[in-house]
Symmetry: C2
């Protein structure tokens, strides 16, 4: 009942038709990503995810990670599974070859990361945070830091963490108080960090904490924050492990979900100060943080996709087995599996259509990252980077909000059994609920989308995206007689709505920021919905093309078209309906706070 | 942080302006419901809810009910709280005076029940199930059964349960196998029931189980089901308690939420058969069950309202205390409570506007029940009963779906703290999640709405409701120059959409049931949204009237108008947007099951 099978067919389809993996493989530095290799990677990853990680998910939830005498013990089997994962070379997949990475495109790594998260979100958080540390050191670390730490972090022998939050400094990172004092070549770090994912655990021999702290003479706010590398065990110049550093896990949080993932309170400097090394320049820590977070935001968005896929598979399998009642469609008397009931089928299609749309959007964004990094032409790289910047907040927030809704639908499909913890459906809902919160709440994502991504270029990047979406609309409309032509109208109406909302945001963004920010979340939802619907339509066109050419699995391709139609019926009409909420900020900001 | 204060101002407003309590008090049998009495009842209930029940909610969740040697122990304090509740006469509130009830209108009892559920949903489930038992015995019990059982059930000294579900018989009640064999004046019952709320507990001296079972010669399916009264302790003709009956709690479920409410597996007849007494006629148990369930469905819908209110209060109080960042609206530098951030305010208004709309709809339906029971004219009673029948599934499903969404938003407002169990926000989400499932899943409610309530009279009752809603639209449009006139257009568009959807359902309901049932849930959502928006508009008109007359709290009334505008901007536009999903059943039923 709680099995997971990687949806290889849809992953391949999204990589080929939406991320454009063949084009990416033609870029310098991405040559190894041949179809055959990608297929082999996906297949092997699917085995590890389904065979090793997924079976640990339920017990991991029940046991949770535990803090015993300062040591964090992960649930049974996690340590061994992590060894498998490292030994298989999986951690190194997306990283640059010069430090031991395998240099596969981010698009491929994204598909693989979806599997880890679907199989076992709590487990997958450890590598997810590690990626952030690798990217920060790759971009900002000194050559010596890179030499000492990157190979072990890339292999996964050591893991990395992100230490941002403090009790008084959550969304407002600038309010952090952890201190760093210069002491010769290094710094002494003291303070308390909370919500540190895998801040302490027993799966790796060393942990490399990336810690935001403040120098004594630092300016206030975000301009006075520096980034430090603080290893759990000191590392000799030959890479050997030395003394334990002055950082301790003082407690673990009791959480709604992701019980197996230890969420630590870390105390730095209780015995004189933890030794830390500056990463990048003093007081420039926020830049480094954004390097860590951008990637993490894509990967957290992907958790929404992953948990949705897992919840869908579980609900579908239950609906095939659970016999209850005679559906209105049944010809003969007797009881049938509930998958025959129209409303159960509708719920499963809601889950599936949204999951496929989210997957398409996440892989599309990942493909844009590959292009932004590897395209030989400056203008193309810049254009792709604009697309990435625009889409990252949408992927993070749209996919994680839907992840919660879809996991909740998964519970509903199970009826009463869904509320019983042993069934496992409820765990997905509990696990999914963190993703709209961490790595910048979805409200912060929407502020980022509107305040930074949309208003700073006055809608230019959004206009480029809309133009691309209009091309798909035209391709649909140019198919008279084909059932896909029916997709053109809802997509056109949705695009009109995004254009209208974007123009409104640009018009009011400077004169009335509170009003536009009050509409930012509905705007992000609109953009995500339309982008998802666009990529579903694009998928349907590709499926029709393949069907006409007799290439590929005809059943899979027909289902893709039907799912795109379903998405257009159930979700695209939300885009125009969101306009009054997007423009309704005055009602929000005008509401007397005292009366709330 | 986890306090609860009954929202007396809004409850009174909804009772007066929406349920029309003054009109109800003029009906024969409802005379005691004077303004003064209702106010006093609400105030006293608020004290018990906020002062006694709410403080037990969090610890109740942590401790849960436990099964020890066949005895179920409720969490600390529950037993004493229940004694308070019974001694205060609260259980008797809505019941007929001839058996010791207080005979207050259902509308008033509904407001009071909202408080119990908001304060402590797990606790409130015990009286909720009891109401079903009382109503079943009142409607179908023999005079002797009524004499022996009703006074104690009405006072709350004994509690009642509903025993429907078996492992193979959930939504399909007709599949149940529990046997009943005649033995003189009584029957012997044997079988296993699951998901029995408060099936065993330590808060009352006796438990009266109402059990659906099948006679040996009964026809198959729902036509062969009979209802039996099975007391935990046998009751002498003088009301004294005798021998323990042959029914035992064999286990408790481990659930996502409502941990304090014991969800029991009950074994009947392991020692020769439990003694049961027929309620009503043999093989007519389904009718009795519907008597129990109709009321329970309203009360479960009310749980959605209640948990939303509780989550809203908690999120609002947190947002007032939590200081984080400088909002874009702030004039001076520094950090502010997050309630000043536009998006936080938007989330709180989402929670509040929907909660008020749900409350209005639930109280409106309750008021219709009072009219259907007490109106002196046959035609009026019948008309009100049609309204009740139409709205009960909408109240149950719409309010419980929103209850989950609003509790989830409450978690989001808290940021990272929302995911930490100690905060209490997550409990509301976990508790809320059961309500769309039990007492008939929301899919079943939608089938009931479309299949029974809408198609059987070919949309007549719906047409009556739409006509009433059109009157409000006209009242709004007749206010040129007033800001309420702006509400007329979104309400009109929403009503057009309901009319269109209803006509479509009536047109296709007979010829293509699968297609209409595949659109039933979106149709119910549309109807709930529009009915909620209608009652918010009606509330705004009443608030404006009161303001013009200088009657009432001007701040409360202004906030009511602003909330109605917010609802019109954020929710009414969903009604037209749901049309393609409502009519999109062919995409659902045409999807190849093998490809899911």
């Amino acid at each position: 009942m709680t099995d997971y099978t990687a949806p290889l067919a849809d992953m391949r389809f999204a990589l080929r038709e939406i991320a454009g993996i063949a084009e990416i493989a033609a870029l310098p530095g991405c040559e190894q990503a041949s179809d055959d290799l990608v297929d082999a990677v996906l297949e092997e990853a699917g085995k590890l995810a389904g065979g090793v990680l997924a079976p640990l998910n339920r017990a991991g939830d029940e046991q949770g990670s535990r803090l015993e005498n300062g040591v964090v013990r992960t649930p049974e089997g996690f340590k061994e599974a992590y060894r498998h994962y490292v030994e298989g070379g999986w951690n190194a997949l997306p990283f640059a070859p010069e430090h031991g990475g395998q240099g596969l495109p981010i698009a491929v790594a994204t598909a693989v990361a979806e599997m880890w998260n679907a199989a076992n979100m709590s487990f997958a958080l450890c590598p997810l945070l590690n990626v952030g540390a690798v990217e920060a050191l790759t971009a900002h670390g000194s050559p010596e830091q890179q030499r000492l730490y990157l190979p072990k972090l890339i292999s996964g022998e050591w893991t990395g963490t992100m230490n941002l939050t403090e009790p008084q400094a959550g969304s407002d990172v600038g309010a952090l108080r952890t201190r760093a004092v210069r002491e010769g070549e290094h710094y002494r770090i003291a303070g308390q960090k909370i919500f540190i994912t895998y801040g302490e655990h027993d799966m790796a021999e060393n942990i490399v904490h990336l810690v935001l702290a403040r120098l004594p003479d630092a300016p206030p706010g975000t301009k006075g924050i520096s980034l430090f590398l603080v290893p759990k065990f000191m590392v000799g110049t030959d890479g050997s492990l030395g003394q334990r550093n002055d950082v301790r896990c003082v407690s673990l949080e009791h959480k709604l979900g992701i019980h197996a993932s230890p969420t630590c309170v870390l105390a730095y400097g209780d015995n004189g100060g933890a030794i830390g090394f500056l990463v990048g320049e003093e007081n420039r820590g926020m830049e480094c943080m954004f390097t860590m977070m951008n990637n993490a935001r894509l990967n957290v968005g992907l958790q929404g996709v992953a948990i949705a896929e897992r919840a869908y598979q579980q609900a579908r399998d239950f609906a095939r087995q659970r016999v209850q009642g005679r559906p209105v469609t049944a010809k003969a008397a007797g009881a049938y599996p509930i998958i025959h009931h129209p409303d159960v089928r509708r719920m499963l299609l809601l889950m599936r259509a949204q999951t496929e749309a989210m997957r398409a959007l996440a892989y599309y964004a990942a493909g844009a990252i590959d292009r932004a990094r590897h395209h030989p032409e400056d203008a193309a790289r810049e254009r792709q980077q604009r697309r990435v910047d625009l889409l990252i907040p949408a992927v993070k927030a749209w996919c994680t909000d839907l992840g919660v809704e879809i996991a909740s639908l998964g519970v509903q499909v199970h009826g009463g059994m869904g509320f019983i913890e042993e069934t496992g459906a409820a765990q997905h809902l509990r696990d999914a609920r963190i993703a709209p919160i961490y790595e910048g709440t979805n409200g912060i994502q929407a502020n980022d989308l509107v305040g930074r991504k949309l208003l700073r270029d006055r809608g230019a990047a959004t206009g480029e995206l809309i133009a691309d979406m209009r091309a798909t609309e035209r391709a649909l409309a140019n198919k008279p007689g084909d059932d896909l032509a029916a997709l053109a109208q809802p997509l056109a109406a949705a695009l009109d709505a995004v254009e209208e909302a974007t123009a409104w945001m640009v018009e009011h963004g400077e004169s009335d920021p509170p009003r536009t920010l009050a509409g930012a979340v509905p705007y992000l939802k609109q953009l995500g919905t339309v982008a998802g619907g666009w990529l579903m339509a694009k998928s349907a066109l590709a499926a029709r093309r393949r069907l006409a050419a007799g290439a590929g699995d005809a059943q899979f391709l027909s289902a893709k078209i039907a799912t795109a139609v379903f998405f257009a019926e159930h979700f695209l009409p939300q885009a125009p309906a969101l306009l009054p909420a997007i423009r309704g900020g005055a009602t929000v900001t005008g509401f007397d706070l005292e009366l709330l």
